[in-house]
């Protein structure tokens, strides 16, 4: 089994990139792979707790929690969070905060890296 690092920079609402990334992570985990998810830029909006589900918008809270329960490692960029007013206590439980050097280190040690950068 391999290790996959996924870096996402697109917002939860207004782009389908996070939807794709989470579903890819789900598939990989279900196949037994290890997955690291890095949230940076507007993608840090996914890390926010207490997201309300509306049928008009992407809602990944439930699937994300389910995947973390199966071993998905989620790290959100601390500076990106802070600049958006998202404090540590606002995060979904189990999501860690760090700076980008951790993402690069994880990428260097992964079998595959999927970096979804441009929004």
């Amino acid at each position: 089994m391999g290790t996959l690092s996924i870096g996402v920079f697109s917002s939860l609402v207004g782009s389908m990139n996070l939807d794709f990334a989470i579903r890819l992570a789900q598939t990989a985990i279900n196949k037994g792979h290890t997955v690291n998810l890095w949230l940076s830029g507007n993608a840090t909006t996914l890390s926010k707790d207490k997201q309300k589900e509306f049928k008009d918008y992407s809602h990944l809270d439930k699937i994300l929690r389910d995947l973390m329960g199966k071993g998905l490692s989620v790290v959100s960029c601390e500076a990106c969070n802070q600049s958006r007013g998202i404090q540590k206590e606002d995060l979904i439980g189990g999501i860690n905060r760090a700076s980008m050097d951790l993402y690069l280190a994880n990428s260097a040690q992964s079998d595959r890296v999927l970096h979804i950068g441009v929004e």
């Binding site: 870096g7 920079f9 940076s40 830029g41 507007n42 700076s99 980008m100 050097d101 951790l102 993402y103 690069l104 280190a105 994880n106 990428s107 260097a108 040690q109 890296v113 970096h115 950068g117 441009v118 929004e119």
Partner: protein, 136 residues
């Protein structure tokens, strides 16, 4: 630093300030220098500017005065000062009428590394030589 090396290339396609992407590309590239706190492996970054992303490389940016934020020029100068290979697409600066003497240099910081203007074909070759690609 460990003995192993991992090459990561950061490709910047977006113009400065209209998007967060170029800034994030530069900060990610700069953070390569501290990954040794996590792994016993050296990450060697290369940064390439293509398309409208080449606009990030014009010197004398006044973002602090205009927007109250640090300039991408400052980050690029820090990259050059830390010997990061930095490439700019020749075809794109020509398309936008940017002369090479308008590109950022960090000689005032003692940097020996300069921005290298290369044909897109060379950027493609550099992509093939890297372990990972990150498009911003």
């Amino acid at each position: 630093m460990g003995e192993l090396k991992n090459k990561i290339m950061f490709v910047v396609q977006r113009p400065p300030y209209k998007s967060e992407d170029p800034k994030l590309a530069l900060t990610h590239a700069l953070s390569s220098g501290v990954t040794s706190i996590h792994i016993d492996e050296e990450i060697v970054p290369t940064v390439a500017f293509i398309g409208d992303g080449v606009l990030n490389c014009i010197k004398d940016q006044k973002s602090m005065e205009a927007y109250g934020i640090t300039s991408n020029e400052r980050h690029i100068k820090n990259m050059l000062a830390t010997d990061t290979k930095t490439l700019v697409c020749k075809e794109d600066i020509e398309r936008l009428g940017i002369k090479e003497d308008r590109l950022i240099d960090a000689s005032d910081m003692g940097a020996e590394m300069t921005i290298k203007v290369v044909p897109f074909n060379e950027i493609l070759k550099e992509m093939e030589a890297n372990d990972h690609l990150m498009f911003f």
